[in-house]
Amino acid sequence: MSLTLLDYERLMGQPVVRASIRRAQICAGGSYDEFVDQLYLDIDQLIYSMQSAPELRQDDSEDRLSGEILQGLRLLGYDAYPDGKTGGHVDMTVKMAAYSWLGEAKKDGNFDEGLLQLTTRYKTASGNFAHNQAGLVFYMVASPNAKSLLKGWSDKLATQNCSPVQCPNNVLAYFSAHIVDGAGTDLKVRTMGVSLYHKPKDKSARTSAKRKAAKAAAAGASTAASQGSATKGGAPGASKP
């Protein structure tokens, strides 16, 4: 008995099978736009997975968060790594077949700086300016309203004639149009918000916060007490001159 496409989709999930075949097609001569379209679908899935457990990522650095996306992309068959040397150290360089894409990431911060890096510092990883798409990934751990923050960013881009357009696939993503310094070529940038804010206010969270605070206070008191007894005991070298 052979496996039908219906069976295969049941085992793996339809989007997974479809994406796998699409990536193979891109490698066998697909277009740059197809590469970027699929890449954004794949990045979105990885972002959704991160957003589903923000409590685990409160202390993660920007590099650690980007590393999670890059690792996910590598498992899907992309050549994805940080710090490619493309006019500087870009946070994400992604390649598949002859195509490339750059991404700059920022955690709780400087949207403008990220965009300036993409448009004035970095060059395309392939050296081909026809590869004219790049991304900004904003990890928003401190912001309680990612949508509003991104709306402000989109409004700002509009005043700079960058024609921001809401992405139809991801509510926290926008496309905008820019010009690359030097080459003078077009650059289409996708801003992707990753909402990782996690400060629950329900009863359980309040109790847990109280317990944590009490524990911290107790630990502080016990440290102070032990330091005090060490000083009283006159441990060698413990006394200040």
């Binding site: 052979s2 496996l3 039908t4 496409l5 479809r18 075949i21 891109i26 498992l75 068959g77 077949a97």
Partner: protein, 113 residues
């Protein structure tokens, strides 16, 4: 899954792995794993663009023989559009399309070395 991948790779490089296309059952036999889901995940992973050990082939039947769907029909599939039987011109359902696995470019390069 790691073990399934390694078993498939080993079987493909050995003498028994010399066919143009392998059925899912044959890949499962190579993988030496009972769980269909694990085998499907292993075959999909080995088909990824970086490895290309396998190539996933969608095939249609015509007069008792199986042929790979042409590129245009694969494009329709990835866009969630109707796939049409290249000979009859009639739409074919996913239950009529068979999935086989062929040694991919990554495997062929390895064999050439």
């Amino acid at each position: 899954m790691r073990e399934a991948c390694l078993n498939i790779l080993q079987a493909l490089t050995s003498a028994e792995g010399q066919l143009d296309h392998y059925s899912f059952n044959k890949i499962q036999e190579f993988a030496a794993v009972d769980d269909d889901k694990v085998v499907a995940r292993a075959a999909t992973y080995l088909s990824n663009a970086n490895l290309q050990v396998l190539r996933t082939c969608l095939m249609y039947e015509y007069r008792g023989y199986f042929f790979e769907l042409p590129k245009e029909e694969l494009q329709h599939y990835v866009k969630d559009e109707d796939v049409v039987h290249p000979e009859s011109g009639e739409p074919i359902s996913k239950a009529e399309i068979l999935v086989f696995f062929a040694p991919g470019p990554g495997m062929q390069e390895k064999a050439a070395r």
